[in-house]
């Protein structure tokens, strides 16, 4: 019998890292305050104590140095995991991620393929203002060679992190910090992986496909429960992999429903929703029954006092879902 425990996402991630470290001697974890302190969100708590300061350690406060060093460690056959304290702080490391990590396999003709998983908490809803709330997935999704993976709950977080660690490609692993502790779920205590390149149909329906990822998934689920009470039949797709996109799952669903709402917290312009819409209209043009609808963050910096206006909510999702459903 598989042992199951109630865990929140922090606990599930910590459990995943613990299992990985116990199986993989070459695993190392580096970042700011990840050592004795266990990370500002406590995801790495206890790991340094258990696996030693050479394997789990604090670094000087310089993100480009952290990622650059991790790439070198991977070239030297270690298996580095990087924690960037907040996704908002990743930009000093942008060059090392998009020009070095992402391109290394390709540009060396496959001779070298340094593998680094870069974890970072992303997204709003914690009253963090602009610099503790951003959703930077589109910057990385635009970069050939990177995988961008976003879990939407504790069970997913553990399986996807272990899946990311097992995958030979570099992964940007975005953790929805708003639901770090908000949701508990049943999580197997044993090692398991979930596929990191497949979207998940969370709920089947006939009339509308709602697509999202990460922290908006619980809101979508809440909204859909209410909408179904109103008589709509709605399919929910958890994207999981923001890059590369699993269009097969999406296209299959949209050909059935003919109506689409895509939800993300990041600003609209250049966002992932636009990319999905472009692919859908190429593949499903004849099946569409309504304009393809986006519900996204505004093209503003992330606000502080007016955070609630900016954030996605179940009410916003219901409003736009009805709008798409009522289109004739």
């Amino acid at each position: 019998m598989v042992a199951i425990q109630e865990m929140n996402m922090i606990q599930a991630l910590n459990n995943a890292l613990d299992l990985y470290f116990s199986r993989e001697e070459s695993a190392v974890l580096l970042g700011e305050d990840v050592g004795r302190f266990g990370g500002v969100f406590r995801v790495t708590e206890g790991l340094q104590e258990k696996y030693g300061i050479d394997r789990v350690f604090d670094t000087p406060l310089a993100e480009a140095g952290i990622v650059g060093m991790a790439i070198g460690m991977a070239l030297g056959d270690l298996k580095p995991i990087v924690e960037i304290q907040f996704a908002d702080f990743v930009f000093p490391a942008f060059d090392q991620i998009v020009s070095e990590l992402a391109k290394y396999r390709y540009r060396s003709g496959g001779q070298y393929a340094p593998k680094v998983v870069i974890r970072m908490p992303y997204g709003g809803g914690i009253r963090g203002g602009h610099y503790h709330s951003q959703s930077p997935e589109a910057y990385f999704a635009h970069t050939p060679g990177l995988r961008v993976v976003v879990p939407s709950g504790p069970f997913e977080a553990k399986g996807l992190l272990l899946g990311s660690l097992n995958c030979p490609d570099p992964v940007i692993f975005l953790e929805p910090k708003r639901i770090y502790r908000a949701i508990k779920a049943k999580v197997p205590v044993e090692f398991y992986t979930l596929p990191i390149d497949k979207a998940n149909v969370l709920h089947e329906g006939e009339d509308l496909t709602v697509i999202g990822f990460g922290s908006v998934i619980p809101m979508i689920s809440d909204a859909v429960t209410e909408l179904e009470n109103e008589g709509y039949s709605i399919e929910i797709i958890d994207l999981v992999s923001v890059a590369p996109l699993d269009m097969e799952t999406i296209v299959h669903s949209v050909k059935k429903t003919g109506r689409v709402l895509i939800v993300h917290e990041a600003p609209r312009a250049g966002g992932i929703a636009g990319e999905i819409i472009a692919e859908i209209q190429e593949e499903c043009f004849a099946h569409l029954q309504a304009p393809l609808q986006r519900l996204t963050g505004f093209d503003t910096p992330f606000p502080y006092s007016l955070e609630k206006d900016y954030m996605i909510s179940a009410d916003k999702i219901k409003y736009y879902a009805r709008k798409v459903m009522q289109y004739q």
């Binding site: 190392v28 140095g65 060093m69 790439i71 070198g72 060396s108 496959g110 001779q111 030979p168 097969e248």
Partner: protein, 365 residues
């Protein structure tokens, strides 16, 4: 400013205590490699001028710095190259055919024709991949050295950089992290006077670049980069320090870029003929050969014969590499990830359909 450490005198002689820095046979070998580097570079830049090579970067003027420093390593110590260090590949024994295949980006190129000429990567020789954004390789050297220390492989990492590149944050982070984690790494600045057109004086008010180490707890030292024995002595000390667990070092090798920055550059717009002539007077290869003659292991006649031999060999290599076909179309799409994603497969299929349906020719590719 005190003169940087030097060994070989103007007349080619040196003090007796330095005769043991390299043996006679090693000296002969080093002269041959440095000279090959020079001949190869001159031939390739001509080829570029003839329109037969897309791009090229020479080491001209800096051969002793490069050849001498790479000579101090063991064969499995990784070398994190900047982009002006052909001599390091020659010392490492990378087959010249492979070097030429990379320059032409043909189907035998280990990097599958995916990078501009001179952006080498040869894993079997512990040469990680070169990228154009400068100093980015230095944090990698630090990380690799950390891994070597942790895995007790006994390797040390050598990272090359130019003097302009050390204005980049990556240089400072690499040095700071390396000092903080006491990793077995050596960082060598080829101070050749210019970052494309920008002289060193614009990069910094610091009197020496070696002094950059102090703030990071990393010993820094200057060396006469046109003196191969001095380079070897100083780099060897740094390598030994690293190998013996004493941490990283920074070396500033003072030299001069006698050639242009690249095949796309013309230095006449930013420096004088007089300055160039003065440096050409103290050309490191001349000095190295003088030392060889003084030691009785080299002569002008040998040099002439060797140059002829090298030119012939290089012509043969060019002919062979130039005749090879370009990489297969599949290599454009494959290798972005370990396996191609469905979304990229769709783009690949679309392009193949375009080629087929439009009967578009890929000639000239």
């Amino acid at each position: 400013m005190p003169r940087p450490f030097a060994i070989i005198n103007e007349d080619g002689s040196c003090a007796p205590e330095y005769l043991s820095v390299v043996s006679d046979s090693e000296l002969r070998y080093l002269i041959e490699i440095a000279l090959y580097n020079r001949v190869f570079d001159q031939r390739m830049i001509l080829l570029q001028r003839q329109g037969r090579l897309g791009f090229y970067l020479t080491s001209t003027g800096e051969e002793s710095t490069i050849v001498g420093s790479a000579f101090c390593l063991k064969s499995n110590d990784p070398i994190f190259l900047s982009y002006r260090e052909l001599g390091a590949l020659l010392i490492r024994g990378v087959p010249k055919e492979l070097i030429m295949d990379q320059l032409f980006g043909n189907e035998d190129d280990r990097s599958k024709g995916r990078q501009m000429p001179v952006h080498y990567a040869f894993k079997e020789f512990d040469i990680p991949s070169i990228s154009s954004p400068v100093a980015t390789q230095l944090p990698h050297a630090c990380g690799f050295a950390y891994a070597a220390k942790q895995k007790k492989t006994g390797q040390i990492a050598l990272g090359y950089t130019g003097e302009g590149s050390i204005s980049e944050g990556d240089f400072h982070m690499a040095l700071n992290f390396s000092g903080a984690f006491k990793v077995p790494a050596v960082f060598l600045i080829r101070n050749n006077g210019y970052a494309i057109s920008t002289p060193e004086s614009v990069q910094t008010a610091a009197e020496t670049l070696a002094s950059r180490g102090i703030g990071y707890g990393v010993p820094g030292v200057q060396v006469d980069g046109n003196d191969i024995l001095a380079v070897i002595k100083i780099v060897r000390e740094a390598v030994d320090r690293a190998r013996n667990g004493m941490g990283p070092s920074l070396i500033e090798s003072l030299t001069y870029r006698l050639g242009a920055h690249s095949s796309s550059d013309d230095p006449s717009g930013y420096r004088t003929k007089e300055e160039e002539a003065a440096w050409a007077q103290q050309d490191n290869i001349k000095r190295l050969q003088k030392h060889g003659i003084w030691r009785g292991v080299w002569s002008e006649a040998i040099a002439e014969e060797k140059i002829r031999e090298y030119e012939e060999e290089i012509s043969g290599l060019i002919k062979k590499a130039e005749a090879k076909p370009m990489p297969q179309l599949d290599t454009l799409f494959d290798g972005v990830y370990q396996s191609i994603s469905p979304i990229l497969q769709k783009q690949k299929d679309e392009y193949k359909r375009f080629l087929y349906e439009s009967k578009s020719s890929r000639k000239g590719h």
